[in-house]
């Protein structure tokens, strides 16, 4: 039948390791292009690149054809996907095609070999021990056990000869298929993640709640099915430097008006809920002033007790037990002074928060100055009381990466299989051994032949060390 021929031909085409080598090379080479042309980036960047390489005259045309060929988003292009499909087909069909053959090798029972064939093996050894054949048997059996194998005996060749043979690790021959299978699992996991998953972000100012995230591709709202609130956000730095040591968001998950989960997330430690994962990815200062923003102060009058108060900029507070009252005039996320001693914010981030306060006594004495969170010496006021800038709230937002990837477990499972497969394929092997004992007067001659499908020299070394011990 002609039909069958075509199917056969296609099947045959995909069983070839040669095709595998070609496809692997094609994937490698095309991936290189993808690292030179910036993927998924703005047209200007790649236009600049093409101008550099092809000159300004051709840049536009080259860019247009690159876009048409999908080279600017090639890992998602139809042709790259097709290559991956061919690759998978190759891998699956090749494995199915070869498995019965491997299974036959694995299941093949080990048989004794002819005495004359002992010289034909890659690993061979001869030695002799004094004593009877019974003594030698015990020694040899112990030696084979030491190699981790269970010996079989065959003594049909006469009263003075006996052959022992054993093997182990025959299933390691499947290891390569475990590796190939794991690649398929990973690819399936990736496809599931890409088609059923969600990748987006959420910018959440301190104190705010959101029931949606935003898609990375389309910027469209994506309902989460629950709400998430940012209770607080904070950054810590290395010493007094601006190098962030850690940043963390205090998040609450709210479902049906109830808080069901609270977690502090940081970089490398995300929050997981109902298939969604929230990663700490960025942060910043809320651009427009939040009406609920608060400054938190610890106020300690001279010799008195510390009291914590929260208030907004523009509001006033009293220092208990004194004639003084204070007012918050201004807040800055990153206080610095220019060369004319004028204050300014040197970054957009909450690197060096400071609040400017004005103290007025009932006698109209005035004092004003900056309280800086990082520098305790700025908290001491002239009258001996102390006002500590503890925190500020409602000024910052946390930038969360939101992901839902139902395929990720498969990907990890594939990685695990691959690790196991690689270990078995490269560090274990199918080992066989035959030992022939021939008694001759007062001694027994021992002939050994052995085989390993990998790491022959290692196996030979082990055999030598185990059997050399028999002679003394």
């Amino acid at each position: 039948m002609a039909d069958k021929n075509i199917v056969d031909k296609i099947w045959k085409f995909f069983t070839s390791v040669k095709l595998a080598v070609v496809i692997i090379a094609v994937i490698a080479l095309s991936s290189m292009i993808g690292t030179v042309i910036e993927q998924d980036s703005s047209p200007e960047k790649n236009l600049k690149l093409f101008t550099k390489i092809f000159g300004p005259a051709n840049a536009q045309t080259v860019y247009k054809s690159a876009v048409a060929l999908g080279l600017t988003d090639m890992y998602h292009s139809w042709w790259f996907t097709s290559i991956l499909i061919c690759f998978s087909a190759n891998l699956i069909i090749c494995s199915i095609d070869k498995l019965p053959h491997i299974k036959r090798i694995v299941d093949e029972p080990l048989k004794p070999i002819d005495a004359k064939d002992f010289d034909n093996y890659g690993i061979k050894k001869e030695l002799s021990v004094d004593g009877s054949i019974e003594d030698a048997k015990t020694l040899v059996l112990a030696a084979i056990k030491k190699l981790g194998m269970t010996p079989n005996a065959s003594d049909n060749s006469g009263p003075n000869t006996i052959q022992f043979y054993a093997h182990k690790g025959r299933r390691t021959r499947y290891a390569v298929y475990v590796i190939h299978f794991s690649i398929i699992i990973i690819l399936i996991g990736a496809v599931i993640g890409n088609t059923l998953g969600f990748s987006g972000y959420l910018i959440l100012p301190e104190g705010e709640t959101s029931a949606v995230a935003y898609s990375r591709q389309s910027e469209k709202e994506h309902p989460l099915g629950f709400s998430i609130r940012c209770d607080d956000f904070s950054t810590s730095f290395y010493g007094l430097s601006d190098m962030p040591k850690d940043y963390a968001s205090w998040l609450s998950v709210i479902e049906d008006g109830k808080t069901v989960l609270k977690k502090t997330i940081g970089v490398n430690s995300p929050l997981k809920y109902k298939g969604y994962t929230f990663y700490q990815s960025s942060y910043g200062v809320v651009p427009q002033k939040n009406t609920r923003s608060l400054i938190i102060l610890n106020v300690t009058p001279k010799g008195g007790k510390t009291e914590q108060i929260s208030l907004g900029v523009g509001e006033s507070f009293k220092i208990p037990g004194t004639k003084f009252s204070g007012r918050l005039i201004a807040f800055t996320p990153a206080l610095a002074f220019d060369k004319n001693e004028r204050p300014y914010s040197y970054t957009e981030n909450m690197n060096n928060p400071a609040v400017y306060i004005e103290l007025t006594s009932e006698d109209n004495d005035k004092y004003s100055g900056w309280l800086v969170k990082r520098y305790p010496q700025t908290w001491d006021l002239p009258d001996g009381s102390k006002v500590e800038l503890v925190d500020n709230w409602g000024y910052q937002y946390t930038g969360l990466q939101v992901r839902k990837d139902p395929g990720v477990l498969l990907v990890y499972a594939g990685c695990l299989f691959m690790t196991i497969g690689l270990y078995c394929a490269f560090f274990l092997s199918h080992k066989k051994i035959w030992v022939l004992l021939q008694s001759e007067k007062t001694k027994v001659n021992i002939k050994i032949a052995a085989f390993a499908n990998k790491n022959k020299t290692g196996y030979e070394g082990v055999i030598n060390s185990v059997f050399n011990r028999l002679t003394h």
Binding site: V17, K18, A20, V21, I24, A25, I27, A28, S31, M32, G34, T35, V36, Q39, Y75, A190, S199, Y238, S241, M243, P244, K245, D246, Y247, G266, V267, N268, S269, P270, T277, Y279, S281, Q401, V402, R403, V408, V411, Y412, C415, M418, T419, L422, Y423, A425, F426, F427
Partner: protein, 356 residues
Amino acid sequence: MGSPMLFGIAEVGYFVAMMVYIGYFMFKNKSVGITATALAAGAFLSQTAALILRWVESYGMGIGRAPLTNLYESLIFFVWCLMLGYLIIEFKYKNRTFGAFVTPLAGLALGFIDLTGISKEIEPLVPALQSNWLLAHVTMSFIAYAAFALAFATGMLYLVLSTEKRSESSYIFWTVAGSVFFIVLAAMGADYIKFKVIGTSQELIKGFLFKATFRNESGFIALLSFVAAFALMFFVWRYGYVLKRMVQTFNITLDFLEDLNYKVIAVGFPIFTLGGLIFGAIWADQAWGVYWSWDPKETWSLISWLVYAFYLHARFLRGWRGNKIAVLSSIGFITVIFTYLGVNLFLSGLHSYGEA
């Protein structure tokens, strides 16, 4: 004695060892060979001590982390793994010939550190890098890179020995690849002399490398460098057989080299898969929520991995033995170098090393 001092001793030790190994290679004098081994082993011990000390010092600074997180530290660790692997091979096979091929790779890495002015400070880590997955990822990647470097050295040696005619493509490959390595080493030496004498600036790698030669401000010197480089390449191509004669006197068989080449890749490939790709993916997943994002560094790791997968499968095809396989293993290492340095120098990416 602080760690910089011990690193200094190790660095000088490796450079001298490199020259003595080359001397041994040329003159085959036994005591020269023993000196070379002693130097390499001494430098290795000093470097081991330095690594431990640096780790301890970081605790003293309140940072407390394994010395494996920036470009400087990872290159140092690469050299350490490479020399460890080499010394094991030398001990196991009682053969010093590779020394002349491996120590220049160590020299290349150390030279690169010194003249590119990479920061040697123990620096605190930004949050994304404070991860044990990252530590495991970097450690294992460099062990694998060292294995691939050894495969490169055996592959090149194989080609030196096996090729006959100047028109053979394998012959052209090894002479060109070999001289490019030599030229890069020499150009970095020139940078070293120029910038160490005139004084260092704190510029990035981009501002330093090859500024004394190919990227000189004076167009004339740049041109001259290219001419010299091509002349050298031609010279190596023309007289490559001299090297072959020298190697031949050491009685190394091609089978032995091919076997060793496969063995080190068989160690490197699983370690690279697990440490380089899988752990890297897990780290990215934890830090950013994407296990794979096709950024240039990731993609180039994948490319290197595919080259070695290609190598492993090509061995199953009849005819893919000998030269072709040796060339493949060398190309594999070239892609590894590109993954590690080229991506930082030429392509941009998410990874932090590039901003060192």
